[in-house]
């Protein structure tokens, strides 16, 4: 023993631990591939990090809350330290939430961090998905990761809903009642689903315990798996990057994981956590003590769900109360249609990448991001979707808008009914025009240079503005994007004069392709010939 150690230096403790782990886990091979992995930098790439970190914060604080929360609908008389509720009958769920808020030191803080982090988590996913959508980062090879992200967003909404329903306060109980009413509207099986979910008639004695296991076990378990898969794919695909000098579809330009991203991303976790803690210290969220315990015959005005359920609330509020009674059955369209539209609005997000790749017919990998202006139709569709979503948020808060802005609730509701259809069309047209305008400006900048603000008077009296030519990097960045040509269905007859059979799908694809890439739907980018022609000689006039 001693003879061999004399020859070799004794490895430091850290290295010996790493050796031990490598012999069992193979960590050196893993580190070789990843330790100095390059990540591109852009402020919008941190949106996903906000989601990841708030998810971690939610899990940490959620575990703490389970130590004190009793998911039980057994009724008790409250005898805690919150005086206004003394002696009032309530479920153990509500009473233990009061205890967390008033009798556990730091309990209120953790509850508020948990709730704020949930709101930020879903808002973060919303904005992160917009970033991915508008820059085309969902294209091959990332369609599956888009689906993972979509599932996280959808499951996040339901996890949030089951979570804020747990305290069994008057507001959340009303939300559960609304859900039960919506379930009843489902044709044929609605009453069965309701009876099975609630263990009998509403509200029963089971729903809190069932929501509890869904909220803390089932949904977060699935979400944790999806988050891990999402991150593995981000690592495996390597991050996308914006066009720029030295950045191609075949490389990834940025700074290494160790040390820069370790410090930046690790530090960012603490920044997010710190900001959420300060928000939770300063701003009350969901003051269940002010609402009182749930009773099915009581309600408060201004009842609102958490923001991410607002568009579903809006759909339900503005839908006309259609009911069809036929052959002894009732089709509750007034509630069921909003339920279906809710699903379709979300499904539209999930399927978009596949629709776009079908239209373009593009089977190549894309690692360079689109600037939103360079994909006018996609950008316009996205803005139209967001517009319809926002209009429905107004619908979901129609009572709040009415009372705060002193407007008629009926006119707000009618506004939403009309603008849910008209708004997206206007948004589509306006966005597309703006994108085209920006494309035109890019083209002008590339060909004629940047407006310098310097006015020159020519000998014959004419005033012109001096344009400064762009640098090679700027010219490259502004012309690096690809432009598709619209797909053609080809001639109606083949070379033998026989009529070609075109399927309806092919005709549709050609039509959509024209709408995306046809004349008037994108501005042809500057070509080298145009540039040379303009920059050689007659420079003064434009």
């Amino acid at each position: 023993m001693s003879t061999t150690t004399d020859a070799k230096r004794k490895a430091p403790a850290g290295e010996r631990v790493a050796d031990w782990a490598d012999g069992r886990l193979g960590i050196y091979s893993l580190a070789k591939a990843n330790m100095r992995k390059i990540f591109p930098d852009h402020w919008s790439f941190m949106l996903g990090e906000i989601c990841l970190y708030s998810f971690i914060i939610i899990i940490l604080t959620g575990v703490y809350l389970t130590l004190f929360f009793h998911p039980s609908m057994n009724e008790v008389h409250y005898h805690g330290s919150y005086v206004p509720m003394q002696g009032i009958r309530m479920t153990e769920a509500y009473a233990s939430t009061l205890d967390i808020s008033f009798d556990v030191r730091g309990g209120l803080l953790i509850r508020q961090i948990h709730h704020w982090a949930a709101l930020i988590f879903i808002a973060g996913m919303f904005v992160h998905m917009m970033r991915v959508f508008f820059t085309g980062a969902f294209r091959k090879p990332r369609e599956i990761n888009w689906l993972f992200g979509f599932l996280l967003f959808a499951l996040g909404m339901f996890t949030g809903f089951t979570g804020y329903s747990l305290p069994d306060d008057l507001l959340s109980g009303t939300g559960v009642r609304f859900t039960q009413g919506a379930i009843l509207s489902v044709p044929i099986v609605g009453t069965y689903i309701s009876m099975f979910l609630f263990g009998g008639e509403f509200p029963g004695h089971d729903i809190i315990a069932r929501f509890y296991s869904i909220h803390i076990l089932l949904l977060p378990g699935i979400m944790l798996g999806l988050v891990v898969a999402h991150l593995i794919l981000v690592f495996y695909h390597k991050h996308t990057q914006f066009p720029g000098p030295g950045r191609t579809n075949k490389n990834v330009v940025g700074m290494p994981l160790l040390p820069v991203y370790m410090a930046k991303a690790g530090g960012f976790f603490f920044l997010v956590f710190g900001v959420i803690a300060v928000i939770a210290a300063l701003f009350t969220i969901n003051p269940i003590w002010a609402l009182g315990p749930y009773r099915p015959d009581q309600v408060s005005t201004g009842a609102q769900p958490d923001w991410y359920m607002g568009f579903a609330e809006g759909l339900v509020r503005v839908m006309p109360g259609w009911e069809i009674n036929l052959w002894g059955h009732t089709l509750v369209l007034g509630v069921f249609i909003p339920l279906v539209v809710f699903g379709l609005v979300l499904a539209a997000i999930a399927v978009y990448p596949f629709i776009e790749s079908w239209i373009t017919g593009d089977k190549r990998e894309h690692h360079i991001l689109d600037r939103p202006r360079n994909a006018p139709t996609r950008t316009a569709l996205g803005v139209a979707w967001v517009t319809s979503y926002m209009v429905m948020l107004i619908g979901g808060g129609n009572d709040i808008f009415a009372t705060h802005l002193h407007m008629s609730i009926n006119s707000i509701t009618w506004f939403v009914r009309i603008f849910y259809f008209v708004g997206p069309v206007i948004a589509f047209i306006v966005t597309k025009r703006i994108c085209m305008g920006l494309q035109r400006r890019d083209r002008d900048k590339v060909l004629h240079g940047r407006e310098s603000g310097i006015i020159k008077r020519l000998p014959h009296g004419e005033f012109v503005e001096i344009h400064e030519p762009l640098s090679q990097s700027q010219r490259y960045s502004l012309t690096a994007h690809e432009q598709y040509e619209p797909a053609e269905v080809g001639p109606a007859v083949d070379e033998n004069g026989v009529e070609r059979k075109l399927t309806r799908g092919e005709k549709l694809r050609a039509k959509l392709s024209k709408g995306y890439f046809g004349e008037g739907n994108q501005v042809p980018k500057a070509t080298a010939e145009e540039y040379r022609e303009i920059s050689s000689g007659h420079g003064g006039h434009h």
Binding site: L109, G246, N251, F270, R295
Partner: protein, 349 residues
């Protein structure tokens, strides 16, 4: 295949085709990564020292904040309320714990990010990407392996095994589905009935006393429950979710609906309080118009006209309970509701 029919000419040229051409020839060619510009900290050790001190200060503030957190936890009683301008009266524990925790966390983050931005190298590197798709020879090997495996399993040659296996696998989850049957009872006719029946007195929700006609004055809105239902009952919530009543008095000549008038007692009408939209309890009453509004989704009903829906998403009127007066002069029900209360459902008809 549609891709055969439609030419792929619409695909743009492979990006970066300009590569290799001299920059001078192509004004739009990629000039390559720009040279690294040193920061002040890279060239000036004084500046680097300043950054170092800033980072260390942030980490120190974090430590102090954690000590502050522990101190606040010990010092402030859980029920202490303090006034803090401009947020008002707040829990001292919540405010102090939250702010100290927030500062402790934020300063770690700010320190780490400042360190990364000013002192760690900010030189950009390019890493190569590799195609996700496997090379053709890899794919060929996998296909052969798969074919070998499939052949050795003989799954194609012995369809009996395959079919029975698929059948077994398809059927075994049914056990799980069957187990879910225990989640709750069948709907049967449960949603069609409430506790109301002939002879049950209407109990004022506020006083817990039987309602008398003279208690109900024009313009007031009274909530009632059936006699015998007490708040301490085990199934109070389930019962009240269907039994809750709204009582108003309307001048008989103002009642437009003939059946409503018949089912009233001298203009006193009793309607289900549970909204027919998705089941919120209705609570807002306009005494001049006799409109009631559900605060959840703003369905509006005209109580002087058979509780007809006049606005909002509800699909049918509120059910009315037929009432009369018993021997003691108290209001009583003359039977159950004629139709199910609350939200509509498939079997409602």
């Amino acid at each position: 295949m549609s891709s055969n029919e439609i030419s792929d000419k619409n695909l743009p040229h492979e990006q970066g085709s300009a590569h290799g051409t001299a920059v001078a020839e192509n004004p739009f060619a990629d000039p390559g990564l720009p040279p690294h510009k040193p920061r002040i900290q890279d060239v000036d050790e004084q500046a680097a020292k300043r950054s170092e001190r800033t980072v260390a200060l942030l980490f120190t503030v974090s430590m102090l904040a954690t000590i502050g957190f522990i101190a606040s936890f010990v010092i402030f009683p859980v029920d202490e309320i303090v006034y803090v301008w401009p947020i008002g009266h707040v829990s001292a524990t919540n405010l102090s714990l939250g702010l100290t925790l927030g500062v402790a966390l934020f300063c770690i983050g700010a320190g780490a990010v400042h360190w990364a931005r000013t002192l760690m190298s900010d030189e950009e590197f390019a890493d190569d990407r590799h195609a996700i798709e496997a090379a053709p020879e890899v794919k060929a090997k996998v296909m052969t392996d798969f074919a070998d495996g499939a052949r050795e399993s003989a799954i194609g040659r012995r369809p009996l095994i395959r079919n029975t296996m698929l059948g077994a696998l398809a059927m075994v989850p049914l056990s799980g589905v069957v187990l879910l049957r225990e989640l709750g009872p069948l709907p049967e006719k449960k949603l069609f009935h409430t506790s109301w029946k002939k002879g049950l007195q209407l109990i004022n929700m506020n006083t817990n006393e039987p309602l008398r006609p003279e208690d109900v004055v024009v313009g007031s809105l009274t909530f009632a429950k059936p006699e015998g239902l007490e708040e301490d009952d085990e199934d109070f919530n389930n019962k009240i979710a269907k039994d809750a009543l709204m009582i108003v008095r309307i001048q008989p000549q103002d009642i437009k609906d003939r059946r409503e008038l018949e089912w009233s007692h001298e203009g006193i009408v009793a309607f289900s309080k549970i909204c027919t939209h998705v089941g919120c309890p209705i609570s807002l009453y306009e005494q001049q118009t006799h409109h009631v509004l559900c605060p959840c989704h703003q369905s509006t009903f005209d109580l002087s006209d058979g509780a007809r829906v006049i606005f909002g998403p509800a699909g049918h009127p509120l059910p009315q309970l037929r009432i009369g007066v018993n021997g003691e002069g108290n209001l009583e029900a003359l039977g159950d509701f004629a139709e199910p209360v609350g939200p509509a459902f498939w079997e409602r008809g």
